[in-house]
């Protein structure tokens, strides 16, 4: 049984912008100049977490155009291949939104496992396309490290997103 449908955007006003704002903020937070060495090996894909959660819980509040824009801006600001993040985030968003009934009915642990699989797939495809695009095999260990950290930290962010989602539904 589906617990809660996607909340109607029109009834929420500015609150309806929360999912987009949160994901956009996470995207910007990812690219700040952190004072930690070798961060490319463990910096989590925060945008990925946000897109996955909100695509499952409130897909209407995180429309395709929003996901696309966030991906393009992230690529532009990081200097990476323009359009790559947008492409992969759109695919992830479509998958998560298509399976949302199934993912909502499943327990949190199962949803986390699905996220883990998607996260490693995302990282592997990101690595493959980037390597082809740049014409050189890039560090596979770095993307896997980031994917592992993302998967490991997801429950923490899931909790924060759920808190916001409850506030939206109240």
């Amino acid at each position: 049984m589906l617990k809660q449908g996607s909340t109607k955007t029109s009834s929420l006003g500015f609150m309806g912008l929360i999912p987009f704002s949160v994901v956009a903020l996470l995207s910007l937070v990812t690219i700040l100049p952190y004072p930690f060495p070798m961060i490319e090996y463990y910096l989590p894909y925060l945008t990925l977490m946000g897109v996955y959660f909100w695509s499952v819980e409130q897909p209407d509040l995180l429309p395709l155009v929003a996901v696309f824009s966030i991906g393009v801006v992230e690529d532009a600001l990081t200097g990476g291949p323009l359009g790559l993040s947008a492409l992969l985030l759109i695919i992830l968003r479509q998958f998560a939104a298509a399976q949302r009934r199934f993912l909502i009915e499943a327990n949190r642990q199962f949803s986390w496992i699905i996220f883990m699989v998607l996260c490693f797939l995302f990282a592997a495809v990101f690595w493959l396309i980037s390597s082809i695009y740049l014409g050189q095999w890039l560090s596979f260990g770095a993307v896997m490290g980031r994917a592992a950290m993302t998967a490991f930290l997801y429950p923490v962010f899931d909790g924060l997103f759920r808190y916001l989602n409850t506030a939206l539904q109240d």
Binding site: I31, L77, G83
Partner: protein, 302 residues
């Protein structure tokens, strides 16, 4: 979402769902199109990047303030932890340096006199701007940072970027209020350097690791760990004699790894410098004829 009367889920394809699939497909095509034009229409994409950088630089500047504060606190703690031992070392060094200063000032005077006698034309570099770093690519594929200074501060593509420790990288894309700096560690970074001890010209090539490699060293040349690496000034991007780093390791396959002087993670502030490389003899002659004055804002000539 309410369904039209008389219809239920699963009975027919929902028109909005079909619409969403089409929209998703269009966005996927658009993203692929962006990837393709990023390769072929590089200048158009770079211009778009610069505009987005301009728009987001102030926002990132605000967001990075807590990170800057943490960075400063960590640096302060690090400094404090080594202050006692460093103080003893510095006192000893200070005594030695005092003796050397007198000797060095005499060398400097002699050097200037000899250069005047030989009419040596020296290249100049000047400080263009000092800026905060507002974003770091942080990714596994690109080593670059975004700074909050662009054409409005006189920054141009190709300008060298340094900090108090040494060379950081060079500007590859400039917007009105922001610029992207390719770090020395990036895969695409190849800069002309030389070994300080002998002046042999080599190339410092990034490979996305924290230690770039030295390339094109003469086969007979044997390098030892600890040799200083400085910019050679060739190529007209980096002024000569800027500190880059030192040879850290030579592996069994002969790869020479350089430990950079500048710490490239968590950069706070950097300086952009321009370099007026030595003119060709005929240009030099004409510039002397018109009596072009030396720029007043030149910060160093060596």
């Amino acid at each position: 979402m309410k369904l039209p009367k008389g219809k239920t889920f699963g009975a027919h394809k929902h028109p909005f769902k079909v619409g969403r699939k089409v929209t998703a497909f269009l966005f996927i095509v658009l993203a692929l199109f962006l990837l393709l034009i990023g390769k072929s229409q590089f200048s158009v994409v770079e211009s778009a990047r610069a505009r987005l950088g301009d728009f987001f630089a102030p926002i990132l500047n605000i967001l990075s303030q807590p990170v800057v504060a943490v960075n400063t606190a960590l640096q302060w703690g690090e400094d404090l932890s080594v202050a006692f031992n460093q103080n003893i070392t510095l006192r000893e060094e200070n005594q030695k340096l005092r003796a050397e200063v007198a000797e060095a000032s005499q060398y400097r005077i002699d050097n200037q006199r000899l250069k005047q006698l030989l009419k040596v034309h020296e290249s100049d570099h000047r400080l263009v701007a000092t800026s905060s770093v507002v974003a770091d690519s942080g990714g596994s594929f690109v080593r670059s940072v975004l700074i909050a200074a662009g054409r409005n501060k006189g920054v141009e593509k190709g300008h060298a970027v340094i900090n108090e420790m040494g060379v950081v990288g060079h500007v590859i894309n400039v917007g009105r209020t922001s610029a992207r700096v390719l770090l020395l560690t990036d895969l695409n970074s190849h800069i002309p350097v030389k070994l300080a001890s002998t002046g042999e010209n080599v190339i410092l090539a990034g490979d996305n690791s924290s230690r770039p490699k030295l390339l094109y060293l003469p086969l007979e040349r044997r390098v030892v760990a600890g040799e200083k690496v400085i910019t050679s000034g060739q190529g007209g991007v980096f002024p000569p004699n800027l500190q880059v780093g030192e040879v850290e390791e030579i592996d069994a396959e002969g790869h020479i790894y350089v430990k950079l002087n500048a710490r490239l993670y968590g950069l706070n502030y950097v300086s952009v410098v321009s370099y007026d490389s030595a003119l060709l003899p005929e240009q030099n002659q004409s510039s002397q004829e018109v009596g072009s004055p030396k720029r007043p804002d030149v910060v160093a000539g060596d």
